[in-house]
Symmetry: C2
Subunit: 116 residues, 2 copies
Amino acid sequence: MNITGFEKPYYAVIFSSVRNNTDHDGYEKMAERMVELAQLQAGFLGMESVRGSDGFGITISYWNSPESIKAWKANSEHQIAQEFGRTQWYERFSTRICKVERDYDFSVDSIHRAGR
Amino acid sequence: MNITGFEKPYYAVIFSSVRNNTDHDGYEKMAERMVELAQLQAGFLGMESVRGSDGFGITISYWNSPESIKAWKANSEHQIAQEFGRTQWYERFSTRICKVERDYDFSVDSIHRAGR
């Protein structure tokens, strides 16, 4: 998916991770639940996610404020998922909280390129 | 790859894209060349990239300043690649220029989690 057009200012959480080879089903189930749950949070704008066959993946969630990111991090069900991540599923990960300063899109469908 | 420990402030360029199904070899060759070329630019810190089997991918490059990002965008060989991207290789893409405000890492190897 490509998701654009969010009103500025907005924020991105870049989560880069390397999965270990364990508990594929448990991980997938939790990952799906976290997507559902994130979408219910105040300030959630959208999400992009991809994982390669080598186990490396990037998930980016977009939010309307630093406060909404903090609230999501502190969500109790999300806290449980984070603990499973550290103890069961990830070799390593990095989390980066970013402010989006500029964005622009391209699509073959519309043949436009709009700097915003 | 996971790449961390960059001195702040630093900046991220999030490039989310959907490939079409054409010119796999030409695209791969140019993509490899762009990684080589980016690494030679002043202010380049690192890069993470992953593409899924469905054609959706995310590449994030990290830079030490907005100026180094502008210089990379204007690089003449990179400009040619960008034009091929729009006319040949991508269904759509989004580019976001971001300032990284916080980051933290986790690794099973070191069993540490350092907020920075």
